[in-house]
Each structure stands twice: as structure tokens, then as C-alpha cells.
């Protein structure tokens, strides 16, 4: 209990010294509505955390064991997923990742065989299908996949022992979302997107593995915007809450301050994520970022549940095969555990293992294929050429001065 109090005090001290309030003084940048957390949001978290500490719920249990990763570096060295997946073992014997790899939602189906095709080429409109006719809402299809590598993950297989539920949060739905029928094999999950805004799909799987309950939350956030849409609707969508309070574990991508509705991540960008448990930031969660080609970087969430990664450039095709619109997929996997006892389908368990995934896309950085030097060089060269050409043309047409003398007497 003393340890818990010390942790809470340390967290409060860190929060009061943080500059979040200065960076985002207005309510528009509140976490859950777009960017980093505001002071008001932090105060709300404190209150909710204090209330939950009294009821010994999951976040409280998580907060009760904040030192389990004290010996971990803030970000472990990068490596291929095969190396990381069989690497460190969690205290209490909890291996990284669920058995068979992480469950995650993707807007592209698995590829046939090996190869490095990007989502753009593989799926055309990235799982986006037009509706039945003009003006009909766009339908989005996503696939549930299993594995720790975006390129190699296959379809997730049906597991009769697992209890699966899907929740879709739309711009027009209740904040807690609405249930969605379960994934239908390889056909994936489909939903309509009638309004502009972000659609969040949560697929939660619960399964008993020995005396541990494995809870996996696969999340996907899909933006649906048009060029000529209702501006108020767009503004509301960009400010809408982005976390689900009932999610056992959730990853939220931090939005940058200048993000617009058609924002795209580029390789080389720094991107932060928040790990939330039941809507509250979770400190000490182990988070892995897996790039399109399977490069892995590990980190641990801080007291705000935040962890940051750089999207490494891992797209190096021959020049004549380079595509500037190549859509690469990243995968973020967050994991934590807690000592909780209970029963699931009549079977007792003594611990819970949480895993959450979030996938997204990123594209080649313009710096990889655009050159200012060449642009300015060609521009200046052409400017000088045209200028000199005009000068010489005019000079050539100037008639030499010639005096004419008239002798009026003759």
C-alpha cells in the first residue's frame, strides 16, 4: 500500500511538472479529442483513478505492480520480429505475445505466398467499397489477422474456445459503440460509413489459457472524409473522443497539432501512442512497434501511458519499381498483465493477460524522392537561358545607328 501511495505521489509530481497544459491550453487539444491530455483531462483521470483504486478493479491492479518493468530500458533495440517474439519473458512466466501471434485488424487481406506487395497494390481501394449506387454510403471491409508481422500475418483462425465480440464506434453512435456481427471467416468484417469522421472497430477475444485469462483487443481506426463534405461535421469528427472507456486495453495514436482530415504518416516521422486501460493511461505497458517489413522497436509506456516510435524507412525497391503511394502497414502491440482471480465460462483463473493491437498505414517520405536542389537548379538554369535568349534576340534586332546627311542646297 505504501508503494502504491509513493507511486501515485510520484505520478502527481510528474504531472504537475509537465508542460501539457502550456502546450495545449485549449479544450480543442484534449486527449481523447485529438492531441495530448489537458490539465482538465489529467485531473479527471486522477479522480477516476482514485475511485478505481478503492474498488480494486483492473487499472488498480495494474497500478499496484508498476515496478515490474523497472529494469527495462525505455526503448529496447530494434530487431526483426522473430528475434523479439521469442526473446524476453515477462515476470510470472508471461511470454510476449499471445499464442499464435497477436490478433490485429487490417484493411488488406493477407497476401498469397511471400513477397513485399504494399496494401495499395494488393487491395486497390484499401478495403473501401462504394455502396450500391450514387450517394450510397461507402462500405469498409477489414480482416482479422493473426501474427506479429504485417507482411506475414495470415487470417486469424476461428477458435471455438474463445469468446469474441466486436464493437463499432461511429461518429453518430453512442460513445460506447454498437455491437457488430462477428467476422465471417476470410470475408472479414464490413460496415457502412454514412457520415464523415472516424470509425473505430474493436474486436475483443477472451480465452482461458491454463489458469490465465487471455484478453486480446484488436482495434482499427478508419477515417472517412470527402473533399466537399459538411465542414461542421468534419470539425466535430476531428474533435470527437477517440477512446473507449470499456476497452480492457487500448492503443490510441497521438494526433499531431497540424493534422487534417487527409493526414498521412510518412516514413521517418515520429509517432506517439497512448496505452489506455478502461479509458485510463497505463504506465509500464510493454509496447512493440512493427514496421511493414517486420522491423521491431520496443518501448514502455510512461506515466501518461505514452510511448513514442520513429517510423523507420524500410521501403527500398529498385528505382524503376518505386511507388510514392506505396501504402505500408505498421502494427503496434501493447501488453500487460495483472493478478486477478475470477472465472470464465465456469473455469477459474488467477491472472489476466491483456494484449491490444492497433494497425495503421504510412507512406514513403517525400524527402526520399523529391529534390529541391534539382528543382531550383533546373529553374535557375531555365531562367538564365530564357533571359539570355531574350537579350540576345533583342540585341540582334537592334539596327546600328547610322547618320543620314542631307544637302539641302543640291
Amino acid at each position: 500500500m505504501l508503494r502504491l501511495k509513493l507511486c501515485v505521489l510520484a505520478m502527481l509530481a510528474a504531472l504537475s511538472a509537465s508542460s501539457y497544459g502550456e502546450e495545449a491550453p485549449d479544450g480543442a487539444r484534449r486527449f481523447g479529442q485529438g492531441g495530448k491530455p489537458s490539465e482538465a483531462q489529467i485531473a479527471e483521470w486522477r479522480t477516476r483513478r482514485a475511485a478505481q483504486n478503492g474498488s480494486e478493479s483492473a487499472p488498480a491492479a495494474a497500478a499496484a505492480m508498476p515496478h515490474r518493468h523497472d529494469d527495462m530500458p525505455a526503448a529496447a533495440p530494434a530487431g526483426k520480429p522473430e528475434e523479439a517474439g521469442h526473446g524476453p519473458v515477462w515476470p510470472g512466466g508471461m511470454a510476449l505475445g499471445m499464442r499464435g501471434g497477436a490478433l490485429w485488424l487490417s484493411d488488406t487481406p493477407p497476401m498469397r505466398g511471400e513477397g513485399g506487395r504494399g496494401g495499395m497494390r494488393a487491395s486497390g481501394m484499401a478495403g473501401m467499397e462504394m455502396g450500391g449506387g450514387h450517394g450510397a454510403p461507402v462500405t469498409k471491409r477489414v480482416w482479422l489477422r493473426s501474427g506479429n508481422d504485417p507482411l506475414k500475418s495470415g487470417f486469424a483462425h476461428d477458435d471455438a474456445e474463445a469468446a469474441v465480440e466486436s464493437v463499432l464506434v461511429t461518429p453518430r453512435s453512442k460513445p460506447e459503440g454498437e455491437p457488430l456481427p462477428a467476422a465471417d471467416g476470410h470475408k472479414g468484417l464490413s460496415f457502412e460509413m454514412p457520415a464523415q469522421g472516424f470509425y473505430r472497430l474493436y474486436l475483443t477475444s477472451r480465452k482461458l489459457q491454463g489458469d490465465t485469462l487471455a484478453v486480446a483487443v484488436a482495434k482499427m481506426e478508419v477515417g472517412n472524409f470527402t473533399h466537399d463534405g459538411d465542414e461542421d461535421e468534419v470539425a466535430a469528427a476531428l474533435q470527437a473522443p477517440r477512446a473507449l472507456d470499456s476497452a480492457p486495453l487500448e492503443i490510441v495514436r497521438e494526433r499531431k497539432q497540424d493534422e487534417k482530415k487527409f493526414f498521412q504518416l510518412k516514413s521517418g516521422d515520429e509517432q506517439a501512442f497512448f496505452v489506455l486501460q478502461k479509458g485510463l493511461p497505463l504506465q509500464g505497458a510493454r509496447v512493440r512497434f512493427v514496421s511493414h517489413q517486420g522491423w521491431v522497436k520496443e518501448g514502455v509506456s510512461d506515466e501518461m501511458g505514452r510511448v513514442s516510435f520513429q517510423l523507420v524507412r524500410d521501403y527500398y525497391p529498385p528505382w524503376d519499381e518505386f511507388q510514392k503511394r506505396f501504402k505500408a502497414t505498421y502494427l503496434v502491440i501493447a501488453e500487460t498483465g495483472s493478478v486477478e482471480s475470477g472465472s470464465f465460462n465456469g473455469q477459474p483463473y488467477s491472472g489476466v493477460r491483456y494484449q491490444s493491437t492497433l494497425s495503421g498505414n504510412y507512406y514513403p517520405s517525400p524527402d526520399d524522392y523529391q529534390s529541391y536542389a534539382w528543382g531550383l537548379g533546373i529553374g535557375m538554369g531555365m531562367l538564365m537561358f530564357c533571359g539570355v535568349a531574350v537579350y540576345l534576340y533583342r540585341r540582334r534586332r537592334v539596327k546600328p545607328y547610322r547618320e543620314e546627311h542631307f544637302d539641302e542646297q543640291h
Partner: protein, 332 residues
Amino acid sequence: MNSTKPRLQALRDAVNHVQFNRFRFWFQFAAFVLFVYGGYISINLGSHMPFFSCGYNQEGRAGVCYLLPLQHQLGQPWPRLFGMAGIAVLTGFLMFALWFIVLNKGWCGFVCPLGTLQDWLTALRRRIGIRYSTYSQGQFAQLTRVKYLLLALLVLIPLGIGGGLFSHNMSPPFCLICPARMILPMFTGDFSQFTVDFSSKTSMIMTATGVSVMSLFLVGSFVKKRFFCFFCPMSALHYLLSKPALLKLKKDGSKCTRCGDCYNVCDMEIKEIADDVRTANIMTDDCTLCLKCVASCPEKGALQASFAGIPIFVSTEEGFIKRMGKGAHHGK
């Protein structure tokens, strides 16, 4: 009722005797500020503007030049384009036409930011004291067709892209070579268009051509008045729709003495404005409706601009004398 007529006449006299160049300068300046920086105060007039309010000026634009969405729409896959998406193309074109008929080609002469920039380059050249260039009549006759060729390519290349005949890296073809793409964002501090794209051979050729055209634009506009307007495909598109437009340039040939003042001040070197004494609707495809010809005409009522049939600016001897007395820099 009796006092209304003198007031109306006084107003007409005030307009007809206005220091036209000064009025036009400030009008153009205001339009430039509006369409290059208006986006910063949340002005958005849509994406069907009949002039070069460049869509690549993402932060500052107050509207988007219609040629950008038109090329994107025409670049859709054929089954979609010739299906329901065709309705969106037609709707967009209708919106463009509605904007256009209000000012006719006056959008070019008074509002277009790229046209305004050319006028400013001309003013700079005049201050430096460098003489301007002109085309011969033979060159004029040949070059005036270029804008129709560009308009045809502007339509056909996106259609080819939609049909899989050309690379998507070519889209939008005209915007990639339009000087406005590089120059207008520059006024908001955005130099991101000053690059050559090496992601594919097509992109490389198109962006390098774009940078070259921009340099050509700067040099050409410096030595030749309204250099780019002569090749502008938007101008060609305008002329195809100009019949029902509300703003018109009219000439009364019976009052014309063929003095040639109107031709001398014409930035586009349109000879018909002086020579043609038969046609009443004197606006040609190269005209930008800048109305400098009306301002320079000394014959009362020989030239006039009318809006929906109502004369709004008429040539008068008094106005001519007043403007000439102030030094109108005509013909330099």
C-alpha cells in the same frame, strides 16, 4: 423621381471618369489577397473557381481553380466516370459555369492571381525602363491556337489515365506544368512545389517541365504583357461558355474613328478591337476583359462594358482626357 435621374447620371459620370488604372490595381490587389490568403480567415468559396486560385496553396486559398477537380474527376476509371460519377462531373461543370457567367472573362482581367502577378511584373519592367515585346501578326495567329491544344490535352490525358492508357503519375497533367502551382503557394511561405519528383520517369519529366515552365513564365511575363494568358486553357474554356455571360464588352462601330488607342493599350494585342467596326460583341477568345480599351477610348459610347444589358462603364471624351492627364502609362 426628378432628383433620381441627375444622381444616376452623376454616378455614371463618376464611374466613366474614374482613374481606371488605379481602380483596377486596387481591385486586383484585393482579389489577390483574398484568393491567396483568404483561407487563413476560413474563407472557402468552393472548388469551381473560373480562375487560377491554386489548390496547391493549401493553407491560404479561398477557393480552388476548377481545372484541378476537373482533371481529377476525368481521371476516374471509365466505368465509374461514364456511370454515376458522370453526374458529379456535370454538376461540377454547372457550378463552374454559374460562377463564370457572372464576370465572363473579367475573372481573368480583374481577379485571377496569376494574371495580377503578370501585371505586377509588367509594372516592374516599366519602372526599370525596359521595353516590352510584341508578337507579329503571323506569330499571333499561330500562338493563339496553343490554348485550345492545352485544353484538349487537359481533358484527353486525364481520360487516358482513367482508361489505363497513361500513368497516374501524370495526374493532374496541366497542374503539374502550371506556374501557379509553384508561384502562388510561395506567397504563403510554401516552397514545397519547387521540387523535381524522382519517384518515376513520368513524374520526373512532368515536374521538371513544371519548373521550366515557371521560369519561362517569369521571363516571358517580364518582357511580354500577360504572356501566360495567351496560352491559358482556362481562357479557352471561358470563351466556349462566354455567350450567356452577364458582363460583356460592346462596340459601336459607327462611333469608332479607328484611332488605334484601344489596340495600343491592349495587353493581349487584339487587333480586332480597333479594326472591327461591324461586330457589336467585340470580345475575342484572347480578351481578358481588363477594360483598358474602354478607358483609353476618346469617343463617347464607342466602347462600353455592360452587365446584364446595363451599361456600367462607357468610353467618354472627358474620361479619356482626365485619364491621359494623369499619365496612364498606356502603350508602354
